[in-house]
């Protein structure tokens, strides 16, 4: 058991190493953004607390559930291709893409409401951070969906196999990063106050 565990724990990072350099770079950027948000808030706690009340937290909750589930779908896609089932892999990815689309729709509805409320980059410090963070993340979801779409297309075309599915793992790793970042963002912007 222990021997098996140690063997199993020496695998390389899933997917192409290049994506991991990018993932760590992106995590650093988000990390700095989160830190900036946190310290800006500690300097303007009242402003942040008041402005946070303007957000509709249900949007945040819905999007977290959606993104976590889509991440789970991507896990299933990876497991499918490891079992050699290309079509199932494609189906799971399309499911994840559909959920990604739901995320974007919810976020756009929220942005629409925000704009109607007069929230803008120059309105106040909280709005600036809220919009920057969520828009920056929004763009990552778009980017992640573009990657997943390519991977899904290739999966249906039978370009991946049990032996060679680095592409699936590469796309999956990026998508999980997008999920991970949102989980922190959700807590920071929508929940903690």
């Amino acid at each position: 058991m222990n021997a098996e565990a140690s063997v199993i724990r020496t695998q390389p990072l899933p997917g192409d190493f290049a994506i991991w350099i990018f993932i760590f770079a992106e995590l650093t950027v988000f990390g700095v953004l989160f830190a900036a948000y946190a310290f800006a808030r500690s300097a303007h706690a009242d402003l942040f607390n008041a402005a946070q009340l303007g957000l509709n937290r249900v949007y945040g909750l819905a999007n977290t559930l959606i993104l976590v589930t889509s991440s789970y779908f991507v896990v299933r896609a990876t497991q499918s291709i490891k079992a050699g089932r290309s079509t199932a892999c494609g189906h799971w990815l399309v499911g994840a893409l559909g959920l990604g689309g739901c995320f974007l729709a919810v976020k756009l509805a929220e942005f629409h409401q925000d704009l109607a409320q007069g929230i803008s980059l120059s309105a106040n410090l909280f709005d600036m951070f809220y919009l920057s963070l969520t828009f920056f993340h929004f763009m990552h979801v778009v980017m992640g969906m573009a990657i997943l779409a390519v991977v899904a297309h290739k999966a249906y075309a039978g370009r991946y196999s049990v032996a060679d599915h680095t592409g699936v793992e590469t796309g999956a790793s990026y998508w999980h990063m997008v999920d991970l970042v949102w989980i922190i963002l959700f807590a920071l912007v929508y929940v903690i106050h």
Binding site: P12, D16, A18, L121
Partner: protein, 141 residues
Amino acid sequence: MQQVFTKAMARNIFLGGAVFFLAIYLALTYDTWQRIPIRDHADQMTPAVLRGKYLLDTNDCIGCHTINGEGAYFAPELGNVYKRRGPDFIKAWIQSQPTGVPGRRQMPNFHLTPDQLNDLVAYLQWLSNIDTNNWPPNIQG
């Protein structure tokens, strides 16, 4: 098992990252473009202000001075010179150049007409009212 690290993926990340961050920058620029006219009172850019600006540009003032910190560091900041010195001093100063004081930094005489001096001052006045996030830290620029 060997870690996979392909050049094709590195290239894709370069291209994807470039397009991605360019899109972010363009979106921000779009917002900035809407905001700038409010922050610098673009509605107050009268023909005199624009003529004054043209004079500053075509006499290479930023070859020695800075405007809002941009230019050369040989001579004082012009962004707030209107508030620091006032219109009359500025006109008199420009007309009295060069001072010819031995060893001291010299400013050429640009042979400006009284009308041109008025335009120049109008531009400097407009310049001094831009919202620059409270920069410079004090009147000395």
